[in-house]
Amino acid sequence: MADEVAGNPKSPFRTVIMVVLATGALAWSTFAPTATHHVRPGRIPIRYWHSWSAEWQIVVEDICKEYNQSQDKYEVIPLSIPNGAEAKFIMGAIGGDPPDVMTRWDSVIPTWSDSGLLKPIDEVMSPAEMRYFRANAYPIAQRLGTYRGKLFGVAIGINASALYIRPSLLEAGGYDPQKFPQTYEGLVQMGRKLDKFSKSRGLTQLGFMPNNLSGMSVLFGGGFYDWNKRKVQIETPQNLAALEAIVAEQRRLGYENVIRFNAGLNTASSSGGWPFIGGAYAVTIDGQWRVEQLRKFAPKLDYITAPIPPPKGGRPFGWVTNGNFMVIPKGAKHPDGAWDFIRFWSGLGNPARAAHLFVKGGWLPLTPATAAAPDYQKYIKDNPQFKTFVDLLPSANLQTAPPVAYQQFIVDRITSAEDRAVRGTVSPQEALKTLQLDLQRELMRRRQLGYGDSLP
């Protein structure tokens, strides 16, 4: 009876085998490599991760297909990871199973490079390719990809910001769009007169509202990084002037009113919902990707683009920007194949051929040679407002966030300082002072922990 109650003690091995099989099945289902779309068994698979989705994913997959058709050694297998790609990438790298190549567009190169996550692309480029890159790539592309003298990222689409202007709204306000202000001061004056209000709804049209302290500080002749001394700088007269300019405009209308106005609009819309299309903004600062968006979703909209005019003593074309760039993780199984794909897309191998890849997504090119290629010139001819952005690229005043290992930290704190000043929690001077203090504390901490940073 005891045996019956206890089960079947005569066959313990059967139980053990069942448990082992169940454990094995569970482990296999958890850790087994996921199926890929490797359809060319004779080729070396190049795993490529990116974060584009929807219609952009189709464009990217088209480019991968084109690359796969262009040669017979490698097969690029794209994987779209719209959310959580960074954590997945880091986990993949730690686990020894990173992709071969990845596209990012946020400020990660300094932090990731400093942490040893990325492989210097110099190591897979030939000396001739490196010479070509250094001699031909736009200055901003070189800054974007370089950390401590080594190249860690190759841009396949630089971002640039400029003014988007609605001529009809300017005319309605009594301005001639052909005589657009050439100084920041003039732009602000004009913007103030283009604001519109209604009794019931408050602010209904915003003339011009500056923001983005990182960009504005460069426009005002400062910036948070001294590229000559290679040092972070915070409390400079130019940075203060930039913050004061932002605060002055936001406070003029009342910060809460601006928040309320923007909250009712889908400012992040990447389709026809962009408020500029509906006339919410007479003049606004935005990136080159809006040109492609307007072509698709509002082809009849009358608009022009122009560089953001600097104040007196400021820097023409000055702004802080980023881009889409390719990185190769340390531990990539096929870095040579990854580089071959990067060279194909970026145009370092064949600038003219790459031009039609860039125009597929309305991306800014890596080199002037690609910009001058017939396909690219045709795109500019079809989308004349895009030229404003291409013309910005040779400027040395187009900068990146400080290229330091703690870049993410400093970018977050700059945003927070701007936020506090604009809300009126602190004065612009106090905001920069606190930012300086935050940075010094962080650097002291890093120094105590043995990081090799220098104090600003």
Binding site: D3, L117, I259, Q448
Partner: protein, 294 residues
């Protein structure tokens, strides 16, 4: 023989739970203990950790105002949201314990929000609390009130998240409801014979008999409050003006955004100790107010 059988049975049992045990030791206990070591190192996840002694802890206590701010915000949240959750949960359970036609439908309605994923809830609340086109300010406008920018104003963002926490009170409500059903009916019968009214019955019978459940929810609520992350991460990302920079969110940023896992591990252990101290404190108070009789 029986002993051998018992041993075999025990072994068989362990073999059946072996997958869970393996997972627990590999993915929970192992990393948990390893993080003690990491908290004394400079560790960026990729390179090998470098021993730095107590430098992470020293920096946290002496050089990081955001650490203190995030701790203060999280304490405030626990102090406000947890008691509010208990009061709301008990009240709701008392109401839904009534014998009314269609009560199970009401219970389902109030329970449903607690099983909606946090991300979906967050997206809905971004709209509800939109100052221009949101539901809350729309209703306020009917009464001639101009509602604030709930999530974009540092004075309101924290309270908006507290308000949102009430959305998920249905989860604890179900437990309170089960607790109410567990109260012996004869206690109420005796009280009725003694002439007690509904209010007295609630004060003298219902609430005391419900205290074990309240205590359980209180402890779980405190632990949950100190781990508060998802809604703040999605809705406010710590802003505006760091007013919703909850401890777990700051810890996450340190670990995954700034790749400072040693520092984040030290933060995690401080959080763990805070939760242990608070839970132990609550455990010690239970003798005074939790009634297990019945």
């Amino acid at each position: 023989m029986i002993n051998r059988h018992r041993i075999r049975n025990i072994l068989t049992g362990y073999l059946f739970i072996a997958p869970w045990l393996l997972g627990f030791f590999a993915f929970t206990a192992g990393p948990f203990l390893q993080s003690v070591f990491f908290s004394f190192t400079r560790y960026n996840i990729i390179s090998p950790p470098v021993w730095v002694g107590t430098a992470n802890y020293q920096a946290l206590f002496s050089q990081d105002p955001l650490f203190w701010k995030s701790l203060r915000i999280t304490f405030s949240y626990a102090l406000v949201a947890v008691p509010l959750g208990v009061v709301a949960g008990v009240t709701l359970a008392l109401l839904l314990n009534a014998k009314v036609f269609g009560i199970s439908v009401y219970r389902t309605i109030f329970f449903l929000p607690s099983i909606v994923p946090s991300v979906a809830t967050s997206m809905v609340f971004i709209w509800i609390l939109n100052p221009q086109i949101g539901l809350v300010n729309g209703i306020l406008r009917w009464f001639g009130i101009v509602g604030p920018a709930w999530l974009a104003d540092a004075r309101y963002a924290f309270w908006s998240l507290v308000l949102m926490a009430m959305w998920g009170v249905g989860g604890s409500m179900v437990i309170y409801l089960a607790g109410l059903k567990d109260i012996p009916i004869y206690l109420y019968e005796a009280a009725t014979i003694d002439g007690a009214g509904p209010w007295l019955k609630m004060i003298k019978i219902t609430l005391p008999m419900l205290t074990p459940v309240i205590f359980f929810n209180l402890v779980m609520g405190v632990i949950g409050a100190f781990q508060y992350f998802t809604n703040a991460y999605i809705i406010t990302a710590g802003g505006p003006d760091d007013s919703t920079m909850f401890y777990a969110l700051y810890l996450f940023n340190r670990a995954w955004k700034y790749l400072d896992m040693g520092y984040a591990s030290a933060m995690a252990w401080i959080l763990f100790l805070v939760v242990v101290v608070l839970t132990t404190g609550l455990m010690k108070t239970q003798k005074k107010w939790v009634h297990y009789g019945g």
